[in-house]
Amino acid sequence: MSPLLATFLAERLVRLSGVDLAIIVFYFLLVLVIGFYLKRFANTGEDFFLAGREMTAWVAGLAFVSANLGSLELLGWAGSAYQYGIMAAHWYWVGAIPAMIFLGLVMMPFYYISKTHSVPGYLKLRYGSEASFLSGITFAVMTILMSGVNMYAMAVVMKVVLGWDINFSIWVSSLTVGVYVAAGGLFSAIFNEVLQFFLIWFGALLIPIIGLIETGGWSGMVARIQHNFPGQDFTHMWAPMGSFANNPMGIHWTGIVFGLGAVQSMGYWTTDFLVVQRVLSAKDIRSAKLAPIVGSFFKMAVPLIVILPGLLGLAVLPMHLVPNAPHLAPGEHSYNEVLPLMLARYCGPGLLGLGITALVAGFMAGMAGNVSAFATVWTYDIYRPYINKTAADKHYVSMGRWCTIIGLFVSIGTAYLVMGFASIMDYVQALFGFFIAPLFGTVVLGMLWKRVTRWAGFLGLLAGTSSSITMFLLMQKVDPERWVPIFALSPYAKGLAQDMYQSLWSCVTCVVVTVLVTLFTKPKPDEELVGLVYSLTPISHEEHATIFHKPAFWGVVAMGLFVVLQIIFW
């Protein structure tokens, strides 16, 4: 039995009734019907890979935030809230909101005006093929591996929560995703993400509502937590971060502000093509700028259905959950089980089916997001520039459809590989992080400074990525006692804190190398950079729009709300 499987219960957590099964089956049928319906509209490359570039800001914004609202995310962060308290909400607020607003107001115009199909595509236009190829190939490989990890994780959760066979879960879910994404391309993926968004909210929102009724409101919940865990602070976000030793994460506020807020979240939300692709589907530049800001309001609310159930678990569950471990004693539950446990506590027939369908939809939307992004990057950033440059548009659409199917079979292979060698899962998730933080440095420097040269972009990205891998190996494998205090600034720094500082230093390395190489190499002529760099691109600022139609206005409102939340939960 793999460690992941063993982190959950040996016996199933819940039993489904007939109405629960009907709810799950209806979801599968509906997404298949939608996939076949949308197939007729996905005929050109722009249709298949960018959903025709006709999505409104609302649809693109919901898909944008939904692409990151997968079930691994829900289960994992609810578990983190049980483990670390409300500090886990940093990953939804400082770790997302400023980056989303920055993407909408500063970076989106360049992605959109350059008419690129992908982030590696932007790098090709801005720097050249070296940086684009490095980014494209790493993204393609990592995306497909992540899809396999997601698939395996879903099968494990279904096995543990419902007692379903792992092979059944893997094949049914992946074939369903394969059919509807190959048919409708990004149209299907986005439609499914919007459905998933509603399912997750309506499936999970009852937990905090009934939970707060049970505890007698927020103050009652806090009192119960203090009673159950005396002497520990689970309900303040910033106050315990004055020193590394004062909080269970072993993190200092500098790690959260600079590592998470300034680098890791900026890297993820502005350069991870899986999420950026959703915004590129917007129908015009105003919608493209507005979509991430629309998404930021919903993102701010997500802790209500993820973090609050974890906190309520601390208050009301009769047992204390334990860290994820290879072997749990009978009757023991791990942190990651807090959401299914709370679901089973409050939801009877019907509502339980809705909650489980929300989890299944989250997993399937995660897979669909990965394979649709993979198909785009493979077709436009690897196949077209390096293998077949002159084919007709129809050929590339056909390649995208085949990539979706092949990508899913590779994902299934990865899922079985992870089943046999569970430690691969940790490596795959870590690998994804290696590229994101330095990529942010490369993209943002390229957008804001026209002097940055072709080789500076490539060598900066390579140096940042290499430094990230080196730090990971030194802190995790070679000699943690020696290297953690050096890179993560304290021997108390735990895994998440180490990630933050690793991101920070790899981005700094990327920026320093990029600047140094720029000073010694020849820049591109200005005429090649029009539409790609801030000083050479005329950007519409919606001068004639009313204030309520201006993305900047809503960006300021979102930032204001974000600051208020920090003060309330300080």
Binding site: I23, F26, L195, I210, Y346, G353
Partner: protein, 71 residues
């Protein structure tokens, strides 16, 4: 969303999903009024009012975004 292609808006499918789920959950909530399930605070009869909420929201979406409304 569908200016170029005249696609049925995604909101219609959202409405369909919420409406069907609302009906299923509402009926199962009514059925368990006399035999509440073994869950905490089952006396609140959450499936009844949650199902009703889904029916109302789903119905509104179905009506507002039905195919052909803006054709």
């Amino acid at each position: 969303m569908s200016e170029k292609h005249h696609i049925i808006p995604v909101w219609f499918f959202v409405g369909l999903l919420l409406f069907v789920y609302g009906v299923l959950i509402f009926i199962s909530g009514l059925a368990e009024l006399s035999h509440p399930p073994d869950t905490v605070l089952s006396n609140l009869h959450a499936p009844v009012w949650w199902g009703a909420l889904l029916i109302v929201l789903g119905g509104a979406y179905l009506f507002l975004f039905r195919p052909g409304r803006n054709a």
